[in-house]
Symmetry: C2
Subunit: 236 residues, 2 copies
């Protein structure tokens, strides 16, 4: 390695993960208490430093796995934060990923071990550093993305009803949609498969369960079908 590389400044690189979940009709974020001084005990995002020989993507998966016990999580880069004194203790560049998990499939043990806790996105505690900004930006990205891509399914169980899916969208957008228009638009994508089974115990009539057909989605994408251009506005 020559002088060009040798002489350059090297900052610390942290991976911070915004973990979204959906529970009891609310969009939630998984937070954890900081384990080291200074600011020990402060609420913040799941985090870890990049390790030697590890790709960014892999590092994010490692942090997520440690926090939730889950593998193969939907995950995407948000942005990189690098204000000089964002961490007053040292110069740390933070690469932020946001992820969507199915709350019911998470590892309770991992949660407890990390002193992690779910918070409704509308009622977050005071957070350390710039983590509040990271969460708000992630939420914004989730809102925008969910309008053009079938991304919400990552937050729901395998099978779900249309009223449940609508509630999720309403939690993400903090806005009521018209149920008739919502149903029409969602079904028009052709990405949902109706099951023969009805949900029991929630409503009198009972709503049919649906599953998201990932295969069909991949197929349409590979055919050059562009969901990004089909907006998803559901009326009032």
């Amino acid at each position: 390695m020559n002088e060009y590389y040798q002489s350059a400044y090297k900052p610390l690189l942290a991976i911070d993960c915004v973990i979204f979940g959906y529970e009891k009709g609310e969009l939630k974020v998984l937070l954890t208490r900081r384990k080291v001084d200074p600011y020990k005990g402060a609420w913040g995002l799941a985090t870890g430093f990049l390790h030697y020989g590890e790709s960014l993507h892999y590092a994010a998966e490692r942090v997520l796995k440690k926090q939730t016990g889950l593998d193969r999580i939907f995950m995407e880069q948000l942005s990189t934060f690098g204000e000089v004194d964002r961490d007053p203790e040292a110069r740390v560049i933070s690469l932020v990923y946001y992820s969507l998990i199915k709350v019911e499939s998470q590892d309770e043990e991992a949660l407890e071990k990390n002193q992690a806790q779910w918070f409704p996105i509308t009622a977050l505690p005071k957070l350390m550093f710039d983590h509040e900004t990271m969460i708000q930006m992630s939420w914004g990205k989730l809102r925008r993305k969910s309008r053009y891509q079938p991304i919400g399914f990552e937050l729901l169980p395998e099978k779900f009803t249309l009223p449940e899916l609508q509630s999720l969208y309403e939690a993400i957008h903090q806005k009521q949609f018209d149920k008739r228009n919502f149903r029409k638009k969602i079904l028009a994508t052709g990405l949902l498969k109706k099951l023969d089974e009805k949900q029991k115990g929630v409503s009198k009539k009972g709503a049919y369960y649906y599953v998201f057909e990932e295969g069909k989605y991949d197929e349409l994408i590979s055919q050059g079908f562009n969901f990004e251009l089909k907006s998803m506005a559901f009326g009032s």
Copy 2:
């Protein structure tokens, strides 16, 4: 600084800049030849390592200033690239910014000094590392963004005609638009001010010049007006 920070691995952090320009009806990218071994002389993006005590944003501005001689350039973070062997010589994490400049206002001297050269985006030379991917992703972001935000003006001179603006959009999207619909939509935003002056020497009739009213844009944004929801499709 305690053990938690002290023991962590520190990678190199590079800032790579995709610089877009518009010239002679074509969308172009400013490239430069690498000045150090290995791969000395290979084409690539304007680049620089993060300096001690410098914010990411500032570092990007520094790299841009050095390459183009220009200040106050429109600039936005694209993404961060961190495959382990993306630079075979050392572990370098690359933070990519893309920027839009007015070609006619650039500093020719800075160009020459950096052995920099404009390439049409449709005819790029072989590029080092993952720079080709960075450019393609930036172009994608520019395409998406230009549909929802009045971003194209950054690439044009202060005053421009509507046919010129349309040609720019066509270069960005690699697609022909209907001139009547284009004009209607663009003017409907209320962001353009017609000047009394006509362009001479290009067409017989001559097209009126317009300027982009940044003030009006900021005003609408601050009033909560959301351009992001107003799509900009221009027909055929």
